[in-house]
Symmetry: C2
Subunit: 400 residues, 2 copies
């Protein structure tokens, strides 16, 4: 159809003009299409993201020029059209999925880690190491709306910020690594933002998560054992310590990679946590936040992720055992499947209703797609050193 062809040419031209960046359509450019089955795969070494779709399981385009994408993460606009890519170099890049390319890119700090989008989708927040703090941008224009320096102590020092998440009520919650604090920024009235500080929450919080219902914020501690828990329904109760033994413990095992918290599985009344240093997945009662079981696994777990229906939990591992994935049955709390996608399994992302999982296998330059019921491999997609995989339905979830 001539219309499609001229439309395609126009789209490419627009993308090139708008972003000043290279876009390679792999098959057809998305153009007029729905966005519920799209996703981006981080190609870390190339500073690039691959645009994929999960219905036909194909790659649609490559978008270049995103800078240093080590430890990069992504959130989506509420309509799923735009991705906000948080790079390690302080870069915040707004990517258009329908006219694949960069809409806008700013370097907003010297060194950053992660971000979040507000409940109403109007604000994008980035947590920065250097200078330490949180910056909040207009989601449309990337104009700076608010700067929250993470100052602490009497000398006005600034802390690295980690574990930034969105929470209901147009709030952002984050942890101050050097200060040992958790802050809640309430932007329900953007003209009068309020910041509430919780001090002495534990030494060196290194990551944080919010439960899928947005109620509990939990920070992991690098400087001591245990976890810091804040009930966002009742912040007046303050931060309390849970799982006092959680961490490296007395044995001080070598820890090859601090496990991610974001991926924690919440399933069947339990939370599943990666053991730190230990070859174990911990099973926690979500009502009492106490440990009910330790499940022996292949090696040191990194991501412990619940299938969306909560029946299975998938686990990947730290180097040198990062070629393996294990699946735990939540009904029996036993490992029911072990397989080796290949060296460098860095991330896993379920389709939103859980029938498939996409697995990044860095050293094979492949994303492998599996049926979660039969464990059969359905296809694989070429990607350059793939790491994080992010599907657009994250736009509709709290804390992702």
């Amino acid at each position: 159809m001539p219309r499609n062809l001229s439309g395609l040419a126009l789209l490419l031209l627009l993308a090139l003009l708008a972003g000043g960046c290279a876009t390679h359509p792999v098959s057809e450019a998305p153009g007029l299409r729905a966005t519920g089955d799209l996703g981006l795969v981080i190609e870390r070494a190339a500073g690039r993201v691959a645009l994929v779709e999960t219905t036909g399981r194909t790659k649609l385009a490559e978008i270049e020029g995103l800078g240093d994408l080590s430890h990069a993460s992504i959130v989506y606009s509420r309509d799923e059209r735009y991705a906000y890519v948080f790079g390690r170099d302080g870069g915040l890049t707004k990517v258009d999925l329908l006219r694949p390319g960069i809409v806008r890119r700013i370097i907003q700090s010297g060194n950053s880690i992660g971000g979040a989008i507000s409940q109403d989708g109007r604000l994008v927040a980035v947590s920065n190491y250097e200078p330490g703090g949180v910056k909040i941008f207009d989601a449309d224009t990337l104009e700076l709306k608010l700067d929250i320096p993470a100052t602490y102590g009497s000398e006005g020092k600034r802390s690295k910020v980690v574990g930034l998440v969105d929470a209901p009520g147009r709030r952002f919650v984050f942890s101050l690594y050097d200060a040992g604090e958790i802050w809640i920024a309430d932007l329900s009235d953007p003209a009068q933002p309020e910041v509430r500080r919780f001090r002495d929450i534990g030494r060196l919080p290194y990551d944080g998560l919010v439960t899928p219902d947005g109620r509990y914020y939990i920070a992991g501690l690098f400087g001591e054992d245990g976890l810091a828990l804040l009930d966002l329904w009742n912040p007046d109760a303050g931060v309390r310590r849970i799982l006092a033994d959680y961490g490296r413990g007395n044995e001080k095992l070598p820890v090859y990679k601090m496990p991610h918290l974001e991926g924690w599985a919440m399933a069947g009344g339990y939370a599943f946590l990666p053991g730190v240093g230990h070859h174990e997945v911990l099973v926690i009662d979500r009502d009492t936040w106490t440990q009910v079981r330790r499940i022996p696994v292949h090696s040191q777990p990194v991501f412990v992720m619940g299938r969306p229906d909560g029946r299975h939990v998938w686990v990947n591992f730290a180097f040198p055992d990062n070629d393996t994935v294990q699946v735990i049955d939540v009904a029996t709390l036993e490992v029911i499947h072990t397989f080796r996608p290949g060296k460098g399994v860095l991330h896993m992302e379920f389709t939103p209703r859980g029938e498939e999982v996409w697995v990044s296998v860095r050293d094979l330059d492949r994303v492998k797609v599996y049926d979660t019921q039969t464990f059969e491999q359905l296809t694989e997609i070429e990607a350059d050193k793939p790491s994080g995989i992010f599907f657009t339905p994250r736009a509709h979830r709290i804390g992702l």
Copy 2:
């Protein structure tokens, strides 16, 4: 832009040719846009749906020619491009949201109620009253793939089918009203579908739901008190009865409208159920499925819906008190807000992260949009006798 104008003309022409139906773009036709913030509002009396978007809170188009839309419901394709509208007249209509109009429409039975889409989005199922059974169609073409007559007893009678839902593992679960049975149809191998029957589950199941994790299927009983519960993780355990007192009870109060089950709120470890006949919302412990509290409310509840973060539960009521909405705080289990949107509040739909709620007010010909934190009305949208509201992120949820 000339391209947009000619594209728009072409879209309209295509829609007219394809559907043989009238489409009225209200502002701009969607065309090239993302789909994560779209939704449809049933305009029951007019046999029409209104296409809306929740970012700017506007109506985009009206799509006509959908037949009898009393008690109509909608599911979405996994990419969110297409809606499948289940009408009362046995009509199954596939609607395109990007080129607004009817793609295909079939009359697949004489009288039907509700439908579901499989976990992988490839199959659409409809539950029929007459002739009683479930028909399963290809989601692309609406070609009939499988017909499951709901035969029971020794004489080959057919039962009305109700409470049809999807469940993980490419299954559909439904109840046989006349037979008092629950069936699981497993389509993980579509060439060899398997149907498992559970008999004597209780008299006259009139509706069903599956919990958001896809684990428990629950049928409400019209012929006796109590509810039928099936654990889909362990179907061998069979159907058991819970909440033996749930229902009209000994008093046989007049019941103006049997409450819907689909909207049951699951929040904070509880399930919230509409009392039948009574002016109460029942609070159920989800671990034991026993009642822990009765909350007095304004009148007979119809929908009892959890805000996506689970902090609040919103309730509407049966005639003649259907002008009122109440909000329950899950932390205190108390009504914290009562207001009157207007006569004929028929349905409520939260934006996926819960910051807003859209409320159908039939007798005002309006959909009203509220901020769920301040309860302030943000806007209202004209709609002809609006009933059900369905946003596209339902595509990514189990059991919706």
